[in-house]
Amino acid sequence: MSEEKADSRTTAHGSRLTAHGSALSSVLAVAAKDATAELRRRTALVAVLFFAVTALALVSFAIGPFGLPADDRPPVQAALLWIILFFAAATGLPRAFAHEEETGTALALRKTLPAARVLAGKALFNFGLFLAIAAVTVPGFGVLLEASFGSPAGLAATVLAGGYGLAVVSTFLSALSARAGQRHVLFVLIAFPLLSPLLLTAISATVEALRGGFPGTALRVLIAYDGAATCAAYLLAAVAWEE
């Protein structure tokens, strides 16, 4: 009898592991599919990189490295950096689900996969896209504005944590607004209150990193935000995307 119980526990444990493995392979497959399609289409990639480079060039011409007193530089530079990152991301990230609806592929995806797995895969792709934007923008920002990255590790951690939250929330909002008539307006209206705490905290952490300190407290807030955003997106994915 006890052996039977042990067997059933082992089987249940095994099936849970299989389910987790299957969920992970779903997420990776969706992200890889989006990456392949994007590399062939290049719509989002070109748009976000073009925006990032243009914004960076305009900011560097308008302010330049010596346009500000030394003490004022970190807050202004941090705000400008996140404005560029946010708007560059906002050019590409919201397309995650809208493109599926526009091309009619959403039905095939909905038929095959639970919404949470699709959302996780698309969030992973969007995070990769954000990192590609950041890989161009942050070093370019450092060179063109002669920003001193006092704590490179702090800055990298801030960009990673801020970018993750931005990707998850943008992807979720993309799912929520994908079938709306005025989806771009809806996205911006909902994104503003949801992303403001993330952006303000990311700017505050970046200021500290530019001044040479490690932004421990702000990073903890960012990580807590990321955790809460991930849980909310997971729980609400089906409500947001499935009929």
Binding site: A19, G21, S22, A23, S25, S26, A29, V30, K33, T36, A37, R40, R41, T103, G104, T105, L107, A108, R110, K111, T112, L113, P114, R117, G121, E243
Partner: protein, 212 residues
């Protein structure tokens, strides 16, 4: 021979704006071929979407049971195959890449040769296999939809206007798919073309259930 899987719709109603498309519709699909007929706008496509789990009924419910046990969500999605003219696959990918993506995404990857066999079964020739979906003709896309519908060898196959855009050879492919799926489980076909509904074991007329 009846299938071990049963798809049951209980007291379904669906309304958008205006009068309901259908009301109090119940049906049980255990095996064989079920034809869904009705004039344009009678709700055939909507009914199949509800049965496929892609749309919610306004009231009523759909249950898929295998050996008396209701299937949980991920399993349910794969146990029911579905094709419709509204279904599109990824234009940037080839037909083969599309099939392999959906198999991987569902956690059931299969060898390349198996995906190619599926494409050959719907009559997509070698040269079409490597081409992007956006480059395929209407008929070829319809064949690809059929390959998608049967991708997980479903117990219940739901086909909405399955012969759309198919040539004579394509219709023969469709007949083979329907016959095979019918032997394995159940097939539900919704169509305006009586040729597609010939030989059905049961028939659901949607106009009859519609009340203004």
């Amino acid at each position: 021979m009846p299938s071990a899987t049963t798809l049951t719709a209980e007291n379904l109603s669906k309304s958008f704006s205006g009068p309901p498309l259908f009301r109090g519709l119940s049906m049980s699909v255990r095996g064989g071929l079920v034809a869904v007929a009705g004039r344009n706008g009678s709700g055939k496509t909507t009914l199949l979407r509800i049965l496929a789990g892609l749309a919610r009924p306004t009231s009523g419910r759909v249950v898929l049971e295998r050996a008396g046990r209701a299937l949980p969500d991920p399993e349910r999605r794969l146990a029911v195959g579905w094709s419709s003219p509204d279904l599109e696959l990824y234009g940037e990918l080839s037909g083969e890449e599309n099939l392999r993506f959906f198999r991987r995404a569902a956690g059931r990857p299969e060898p390349l040769e198996e995906s190619r066999r599926r494409l050959r079964e719907v009559g997509l020739a070698e040269e079409a296999i490597g081409r992007r979906v956006e480059e395929l003709s209407t008929g070829m896309r319809q064949r690809l939809r059929l390959a998608f519908a049967t991708l997980f060898d479903p117990d219940v196959l739901l086909l909405d206007e399955p012969a759309n855009g198919l040539d004579v050879e394509g219709r023969a492919v469709l007949a083979t798919i329907v016959e095979r799926a019918r032997r394995r489980g159940a097939v539900v076909i919704a169509s305006n073309d009586e040729r597609d509904l010939a030989g059905a074991d049961e028939r659901v007329e949607l106009d009859v259930s519609r009340k203004p």
